[in-house]
C-alpha cells in the first residue's frame, strides 16, 4: 500500500459542547496514541489492549507530562476498521480548545495531519468502501482540498503572509547561491560562506519561532468570531474597538460619522479569537460616502456571528437606538452602554425608561462600560466566554484546521533550518546545507499554496552569472 504514514484529524464537527473525536489511522496508530495515553496509575497500556475495545484513561502532554483530558479511547485493528488500517479514536471532552490540544499531542507523537478526504480515500483503497462510493470519495477529496486551500490563503493575515514570502525569497536566494557555486566552482566561491549562512540561520530561526508563537496566540490567522460593532454615530464604537485592541487602530474623533467604512481587526479574548469589525454609525444621511459606509455596516451585521450594540448613555438615548437593536432579531448580541464614566445623574434618570425597553429586546445581555476607564471589561469578557462555551457563538472548523496545518508546515520548516544549523555546527560541506534549506523552503510554500517547480533554476540564472 502507498500509505505507510499514520494520519490524524478531528472526526467530529468542532463545537464547544459535547464530545470531540480524534481519529488516528495507519500502521503506527496504536503506538502513537500509546505514547500519550495513560491509565489512572500513570502507566501506558494501549499497545497491549485487544482490538475493538474501549479504554478509559488520560491524555498527557508529551512535553511536560501534564494531564490534558480524561478520555475514552477505542482501538480497532486492521482490517476491521473504517479505513481498513489500524485505527484509534480518542473521545475527549471540553470543547474546541481541548480537542485541539489533544490533536496537537497526537501529531507531536508522530502522526501527520490528514489531507482532506484522506480517511475516505484510504477506506476505499483498502477495499472498505464499495465501488459505488468511489465517485463520492473523489468529489470529497477534490472539493475539500480546494476549499481548504482557499481558506488557508484567505485566513492568513497580511503581515504573516508577507513575512512568509520574505523568508522564502531569502532562503531561495541562499540555495541558489550554493547551487551556483557547486555548478560552477570556478566562477563562484563559497569561501567564508559558513559565517554568512550562520547569521541568516539565526535570523530565520527566530522569525519562524515568532510565527509559530503567533500561530498559537491567534494573531496569525485572519479569522475568528465575526463580531460587529454597531451603533449610532459617535456612540464610541471605535473607542471600544481600540480599547479591546489595546492600540489606536481606528481613527477616533469627536465628530460624528468619522468611521465611514468598516475596519477589521483581530483580537483574542481568553482563548477565543474575535474578528472585530468597526462600522460607520448608522443614521439617515445625505452624504454619499457616509451612506455607503452605513450600507456596509448593515451588510457586516447581516453576516456577523455576534453584534456588539453600542449605546452612548452620556447623551440622550433615543428611539433610534432601540430600532437599531431590534434590527437583527436572529443575531446573537450584547448591548454595551458606553461612556458610563460621563453619566450625570440627571441624564441617567431620563434614560431609565428607554433603558428598560432595551432590556426586553431579544434577551440581549447588557453591560455598563467605559472605554476610557475600562469599567465593564471583565463583565463583557465573561459574557463572551459564556456565549462561546455554551455554543451560542462558534468559530468555524476550517480555521482550527488551517491553523494546525500551518503549524505543521512551520515546524517542518523549523526542522529543516535546525538541520542546516546542525550541518554547519558539525562542519559538514556546503552542499549538505542546500538539501535541508530546500525542505524548509517548500514547507513554507505549502502555507501560501505555492509550487516550487522551476523556482530554483530561475533564481540561479537570474541572480548568478554562470560560466561559458
Amino acid at each position: 500500500m502507498i500509505n505507510n504514514e499514520t494520519i490524524a484529524a478531528v472526526a467530529t464537527a468542532l463545537s464547544e459542547s459535547g464530545i470531540g473525536i480524534i481519529r488516528v489511522s495507519g500502521p503506527d496508530a496504536v503506538d502513537i496514541v500509546n505514547k500519550i495515553f495513560f491509565n489512572k496509575a500513570g502507566k501506558q497500556f494501549l499497545s497491549s489492549v485487544e482490538s475493538h475495545t474501549i479504554n478509559y484513561g488520560y491524555i498527557h502532554s508529551l512535553e511536560d507530562n501534564s494531564v490534558i483530558d480524561e478520555c475514552l479511547v477505542s482501538v480497532m485493528l486492521a482490517p476491521r476498521s473504517f479505513t481498513g488500517e489500524n485505527t484509534v479514536e480518542i473521545n475527549c471532552h471540553g470543547g474546541v480548545y481541548v480537542v485541539k490540544r489533544v490533536l496537537f499531542e497526537v501529531l507531536n507523537a508522530g502522526a501527520r495531519m490528514a489531507e482532506p478526504g484522506e480517511f475516505s480515500k484510504r477506506a476505499f483503497l483498502n477495499g472498505r468502501l464499495d465501488l459505488s462510493e468511489a465517485e463520492a470519495v473523489m468529489d470529497v477529496i477534490s472539493s475539500k482540498s480546494e476549499s481548504s486551500l482557499k481558506a488557508s490563503l484567505s485566513q492568513l493575515s497580511g503581515s504573516v503572509s508577507k513575512k512568509i514570502r520574505e523568508l522564502r525569497t531569502a532562503i531561495l536566494y541562499e540555495i541558489a547561491f550554493i547551487e551556483s557555486a557547486l555548478d560552477d566552482p570556478e566562477h563562484i566561491s563559497l569561501d567564508g560562506y559558513k559565517e554568512r549562512i550562520s547569521e541568516h540561520l539565526k535570523n530565520w530561526i527566530t522569525d519562524i519561532n515568532k510565527l509559530i508563537d503567533s500561530n498559537k496566540n491567534g494573531r496569525y490567522l485572519r479569522d475568528g468570531i465575526s463580531t460587529v460593532l454597531l451603533g449610532k454615530p459617535n456612540a464610541g464604537k471605535s473607542s471600544i474597538m481600540n480599547f479591546l485592541l489595546g492600540n489606536d487602530r481606528a481613527i477616533v474623533t469627536e465628530i460624528a460619522g468619522t468611521t465611514r467604512d468598516t475596519l477589521e481587526e483581530y483580537v483574542k479574548i481568553d482563548d477565543i479569537s474575535l474578528k472585530l469589525i468597526d462600522t460607520a454609525g448608522i443614521r439617515e444621511t445625505d452624504n454619499t460616502v457616509e451612506a455607503i459606509g452605513v450600507e456596509r455596516a448593515r451588510e457586516a451585521a447581516q453576516n456577523a456571528d455576534l453584534i456588539l450594540y453600542v449605546v452612548d448613555v452620556s447623551s440622550d438615548i433615543s428611539q433610534k437606538d432601540i430600532e437599531l437593536i431590534k434590527m437583527f432579531p436572529d443575531k446573537k448580541g450584547i448591548v454595551i452602554l458606553n461612556k458610563n464614566d460621563l453619566i450625570n445623574s440627571v441624564a441617567a434618570k431620563d434614560n431609565n425608561i428607554l433603558l428598560s425597553l432595551i432590556d426586553n429586546v431579544n434577551d440581549y445581555p447588557i453591560v455598563n462600560f467605559s472605554a476610557v476607564t475600562g469599567t465593564g471589561f471583565d463583565e463583557l469578557r465573561s459574557i463572551i466566554n459564556d456565549m462561546f462555551c455554551s455554543g451560542l457563538i462558534k468559530n468555524s472548523d476550517q480555521v482550527v484546521i488551517t491553523n494546525i496545518r500551518h503549524k505543521e508546515c512551520l515546524e517542518d520548516c523549523l526542522r529543516g533550518l535546525l538541520n542546516v544549523r546542525n550541518s554547519v555546527d558539525n562542519d559538514m560541506e556546503e552542499d549538505f546545507y542546500s538539501i535541508d534549506l530546500m525542505d524548509a523552503y517548500s514547507s513554507l510554500g505549502k502555507i501560501i499554496g505555492e509550487e516550487i517547480e522551476d523556482d530554483l533554476a530561475t533564481e540561479i540564472f537570474s541572480k548568478f552569472c554562470l560560466g561559458k
Partner: protein, 650 residues
Amino acid sequence: MTNNNKLVENFDVVIIGAGHAGCEAALACSRLGLETIIFTVSVDSIALMPCNPNIGGSSKGHLVREIDALGGEMGKNIDKTFIQSKMLNISKGPAVHSLRAQADKQLYSKSMRQILENQEHLTIKQGEVCEILWEDIENNKNDNSVINNTSVYTSLADKKIIGVKSYTGTTYMCKAVVICTGTYLNARCLCGEAITYTGPNGLQAATHLSDSIKAMGIELRRFKTGTPARMDGKTIDYSKLSEQKGDERVVPFSFSTDPESVQKEQVSCWLTYTNEETHKIIKANLDRSPIYAGIIEGTGPRYCPSIEDKVVKFADKDRHQVFLEPEGLYTDEVYVDGMSSSLPEDVQQAMYRTVPGLENCRIVRNAYAIEYDCINAKQLYNSLQFKKVNGLFAGGQFNGSSGYEEAAAQGLIAGINAAMYVLDRDPLILDRSESYIGVLIDDLVTKDNREPYRMMTSKAEYRLLLRQDNADLRLRKYGYKVGLVSRETYDKLCEKEKQIKDEIERLKSVMVGANKQVSEFLAKHNSSALTQGVSLASLLCRPEISYKDMYEIDSNRPELADDVIEQVEIELRYEGYIERQKKQVEHFIKMENRKIPADLDYDDVPSLRIEARQRLKEFKPLSIGQASRLSGVSPADVSVLLVYLERGNR
C-alpha cells in the same frame, strides 16, 4: 530526391547521426548483436566536439561515470584522449565531486571512429537520411489493464518503423530507428549579419528529414545555442594570464581504466578577465547582435549565456572570467571559454582584443550562434521511444538537451531500448532515485523545458546517493542485465559490494576502549579523548580521522582496494544524511510503482481540476509518481487519480 536507385538493404537498427548520442546508440545496438548502420553527414566528423574542448564537469562528470557503468564508451574514450584532468568541488561533499577533462578534440574524434570501425555488426555510412519509412498498425486498444513494461510499446502508437531512405535513394529496411541529429536539422548559423545555412563548424545541415518527421505527426520546435571564437594560440600573450593546472594525481573516468595508465604530462588552461572596455564595445553594438535585433527566434539556454547576455543581465559586474583552453595537442587553436557570442566579426575582434593576453589575438574561427529543429521530449516515453511510433527512438540534442554528456547518456539509453524493442525485451528505464541519467530523461519527458536542458546536481533530489564514486555500484547490474557488461566485470562488482558491506559491519562491531594506544592515537590527530568505548565506525565519523590513519589502532584489518575504502568512509561518515535520503526513496519508489495506463481517458476521471486534467492529457504519465511531478497537478488530483485507478482494478 528523384532517381531510379532501387537499392534496398536490410538492417535491424538505423542510427541517424554520429555525434556523441549516435555513437553510444550505435555501439549499444551492435554490441548486443544487432545489425546496425550509423549515418553521418561526414565520416570525418564522428564524435565531433564542435563546442567546448572538455568532457565532464559538475554533474556531467556523473553522467559519464554512469554511461561507463552501463557499458557505454564515452568514459573510456576520454581516458585515452585527455590532455588535462581535474576533480572539481573537491573541498565540498562527495556527492558533488565531479571529474572534468580537457580533450584533444581530434584525438577524441579519431579514437571513437576507430572504436566504431572495429565494432562487429556495425556499418558506417556517409550520407543524409531524408525520409523515415513507417506503416500504420492496428489500433490494439483491447488491453485496458494497468500497464506493464512491455505493453508500454503498444498502447498509444498508431504507426511502426519499417525503414529509412537516404538522399541518394537507397532504402534501408529496419525495425528500429534512433534519431540523433543534434543541431543539424534545418540548422542555420549566425555571426552578426552573416547567416549561413549549415550545421556546426560549417558542416552540411540536414534539410530534408524535418518534413518526414513532421509527417509522422511529431511536433518540432526551434532551439538555439552558441559557441565562442577559437584563437590562434601563437597570438596569445600568456605572460599576462594565470595558469590553471590539472590535478597532480589524475582519476580516470572509466571504472575499467587502470588508474596508472592516466598519469601523464598535462597541458594548462589559462585564466583572464573581460573589463569595462570589453563591455563598452558590446553595449555599443548590441543592435548588431542577431538575438537582440530579434533575428534569432530559437530559445537559448540561460545557463550558457553569450557574453552579450552576461553584459546586459549582469550590468553591475565589472568583469567576467574567461578561460583559455587548448583544443588539442595537434593544433594551436584555443577555445575562449566564457565569451560565446553572435556579434559580427568586426565587433568580435575588437571585443576579444580588449581582454588581457588577447590584445593581438587572431581569430581562427569566429564565434557564432546556431539555431536548429528539435522536439519537445514530452512526445517520448522514459525509454526514449516516441509514444506515437513504435520502433522510433531519439537521443541527444534533438530531444532538447545540451552538452556532449547529456547527449551520450540519452544515446546510450535510446540505443539500448531500440535493441530491447527489436529483441522483444523489456526496456531499460532508470528512475530518479538511482541515476542522473534517470533524472535527465524524466525531466526531459515530464517538464516544460523552454530551453536546451542541462544537467545540474540540484536537479537530482537524491544526490547524496547518486555520487560519481558509486556509479558502478548503482548501475553495473543494469549494464550486465542488458548485455553490455561482461560477466567477469559484473562478478568483480559484486565482490566489491560484498567487501564494502563486510567492512562496514566489521567497523561497527569492533569496539575500542580509552586505552593508552588509542588515547595517543587520538591526541596525535588532534581528536578529543574517549570517555568510554566506541566502535571504530564512530571514530571514522570524526572528520580529522581517516581510514588510513586508523591502521595504527586496527592493524588486524583486511587488506582492501582504495575504491572499497572510499565507499566505506563515505557510507559511514555521511550515514545520517544517506539514510534520510534512502527513506525518501522508499516512498518515491512506491509512487513510481503505481502504474497508469498510457491510454487512460482523463475526461472520464471525475473531480480532476481542469488544469490538472489538461496537463495529464498532455503528458500521459505512466506512473502516479510521474503524474505527481507534473506542474499543475496537485496532491488532491493525485489522490483522485489513485481512487479512480483502484476503481478500475475491481
